[in-house]
Amino acid sequence: MPRVVVDVVLKPEISDPQGQAVLGALGRLGHRGVTGVRQGKHFVLDVEGTPDEAELREIAENLLANPVIEDVELHLSGD
């Protein structure tokens, strides 16, 4: 069954306190080389038949992401 992946992340101008908390933890663990963390969501959709890109884009942009604050990336090949 075809697999489609949707990645959602806060727009760059929206602050991400969860990502900042992860960055702080990395610093305390000694991983000084990481200078930024943005936390997002990763959806894996199993789709019957040939994925309909227009429909999947609508699903991604109208439900999985809130376009007011989030950017969305659709990966039709499922990787």
């Binding site: 806060l10 101008e13 929206i14 602050s15 306190p17 969860q18 908390a21 439900l63 007011v68 604050i69």
Partner: protein, 223 residues
Amino acid sequence: MRIGVVTFPGSLDDVDAARAVRLAGGEVVPLWHADAELPAVDAVVLPGGFSYGDYLRAGAIAARQPLMRAVVDRAHAGMPVLGICNGFQVLCEAGLLPGALTRNSHLHFRNRDQALRVERADTAWTSSYAQGQTITVPVKNGEGRYVAADADLDRIEGEGRVVVRYAGGNPNGSSRDIAGVTSADGRVVGLMPHPEHAVEELTGPSVDGLGFFTSVLQGALSA
């Protein structure tokens, strides 16, 4: 005046909201999220809580339930709608109000009595107040940080869409201390603090919250 109070799975404050409506002198019509039809009501209140466990995003799934489609249609036709806390999140997710609510900047749930400055006393839900008046009602949220892109915030401010602003400290890192906003026509209002918890001396920090509910009733009488 008949005011519908919607219950979603995970709503917590629907009973308090209904009680506030009754104390203000309104008749409560209990509404269920899965209903496709909106019965004859003059206004709708979306209460606080954690509809659908805040899964996906707070308010996201509730905003797409059958009853909400009817609420959105009626709101576009001028029906007053008040969204409190999770109800505010639902209204933003439904596209009736600008902006979005996200995780508090300090990542803690914040629960306290909160001073608010009334910036707009001419909406359907705030006409009982005076512009610039300070009121105190409880605030309780973990995802109450109001955000939008800077250009959108400038537009929201420029159009006078901010209804209430946090005073005496910002509990969640909301942009520009915004606690609540309105639609362009002033009929739809959403705010994170809880006016329905400040309607009786015995149980609230004040009775300052009652004005939201008396406002919509008075508006109906004078219309």
